[in-house]
């Protein structure tokens, strides 16, 4: 297990948002966190990343406890983060966005690899990131997380607001990336989740209700309908 989360409780102001989230992420897999809007998926990723403090629970990354660490330490240990709004620095160029993420010791090779993976970025290196399309921004957000040299990537709803064609491309990119890096993906788009996911974990009302292999979930109509509202036709 590259990441283990046990009984995580997080408050935002007065609100008890996470009331017991647990997650086991095997190395080299894509684990998809599913659940309704407001179930606590984003808060789970932000708690793991150290961007919001949690009150209770254990978080272990590569056997090392990372709870109570500030976000920059978590990132330095090898966890990359792609937020829901992509967190692109629109005032910087594409190249500056990537360079900012590179650390001492990140090789130019890694950057080349990322640019091979996302050719759109290579041609736009000098462009202001604010001028990129939604799909290109998502590519840049993923690429930027990759050049940090992270071994685990937390990706929040990469399909959000993208045209179906771009969703396909994001799915393709994730399938490519997953060969080299473990991914925890929050996703509402079940087609995308199904296409790239190896494991799933469903969060409902701030609690992990069920986890398992993606292949089994696809067959489990009752679960899909109860927690995700996925109807027969959408599958």
């Amino acid at each position: 297990m590259i990441l283990e989360v046990e009984d995580l409780h997080t408050y935002i102001g007065e609100f008890h948002i996470l009331q017991g989230v647990s997650l086991k992420v095997p190395s080299g897999s894509v684990t998809v966190i599913l659940g309704r809007n407001g179930a606590g998926k984003t808060t789970t990723l932000r708690s793991i990343m150290g961007l919001i403090p949690h009150r209770k629970g254990k978080i272990t990354f590569e056997g090392r406890s990372i709870e109570r660490l500030p976000a920059h330490r978590v990132a330095q240990l090898g966890v990359g983060y792609v937020p829901e709004d992509q967190g692109i620095f629109t005032c910087l160029t594409v190249e500056e966005n990537l360079r900012l993420a590179m650390r001492n010791g990140t090789s130019g090779k890694l950057l080349e690899k990322v640019l091979d993976l996302f050719p759109d970025l290579r041609v736009a290196l000098r462009k202001k990131a604010g001028n990129l399309s939604g799909g290109q921004r998502q590519m840049l957000a993923l690429g930027r997380a990759l050049v940090t040299g992270s071994r685990l990537l937390l990706v929040d709803e990469p399909s959000k607001g993208l045209a179906p064609v771009m969703v396909e491309r994001v799915a393709g990119a994730i399938s490519q990336i997953k060969k080299e890096i473990t991914i925890v993906l929050v996703e509402q788009n079940f087609r995308l989740a199904k296409a790239v996911g190896d494991y799933y974990s469903i969060i409902d009302d701030g609690r992990t209700v069920v986890s398992g292999k993606m292949g089994e979930l696809v067959e489990n109509h009752e679960l899909l309908e109860r927690y995700l509202g996925v109807k027969q036709a959408a599958r």
């Binding site: 990343m49 500030p70 976000a71 920059h72 620095f89 005032c91 500056e96 900012l100 202001k128």
Partner: protein, 287 residues
Amino acid sequence: MDAYINLLTNGIATGMAIFLLAVGLSIIFGLMSVLNFAHGAFFMWGAYVGAWIFGLTKSFTLALTSAVLVGAIIGLVVERSTISRVYGNHVSQMLLTMGLMLVLGEMVKVFWGPNILTSPLPAYLAGSWDLNGVIIIKYRLFTIIVGAATALAVYLILKRTRLGIIVRAGVENPEMVQALGIDIRKVFSLVFAFGAALAALGGAIMGPLGGSISPTMGLENQLLAFIVVVIGGLGSFIGSLIGAILVGITGALVSWFLPEAALAVNILLMAVVLLLRPTGLFGGSGL
């Protein structure tokens, strides 16, 4: 014609000193969203330390260097010991920085007394040149050169260095900078100290420009700097520069033709800019 050139150089020179004060204020707000009501105190400390060291050593270079150093040190101490505890809490920040302004102002009185002091020039910068009937006051030209050189240096740091990229990215989204593995708190401290140092340099230069320094100069110039920052756009470097020159020239022209309206006109200028462009002239432009 003479009068206009005189007013123009005076305006630009004052603008440059205000720019040095405003640029730190603007970047500190942009990056840490702290509205620093103590920023003028660094300016005042710079002016007093500069005049004091110049009186002791007769070296103007040493005077400016000491002002910058003292500004950086006070800035760093203030940020580490107090401001870093109230990030994210605007009400506390306001109360704290206003309190700091009072404390730092009173400390100036403790060390140098409450009266207006003279702030002399070195001999080699006193006097003026006569270029075919156009009188150029040497110290004003010096102020403009120092201001422009500092502006260029800050610009290059922001544009070319890794620290500059971090600062620009942090102005837009500090949380994401952290998520990329950068300790933004360290960057905050550095930028705060750097902003305070620039303000102190501005003060040390402003002293001899007006000829005198007083314990109220911090607040007076801070007000101008706030106007500059609002006109230029919060967080914008270019905005601070253009805004400061605009405010400097307007101030010089108005105080020549209609002295009692000097501040009113600057506030009017701010109101007009806000009506036409609520984000300021260069707000959100990224530099």
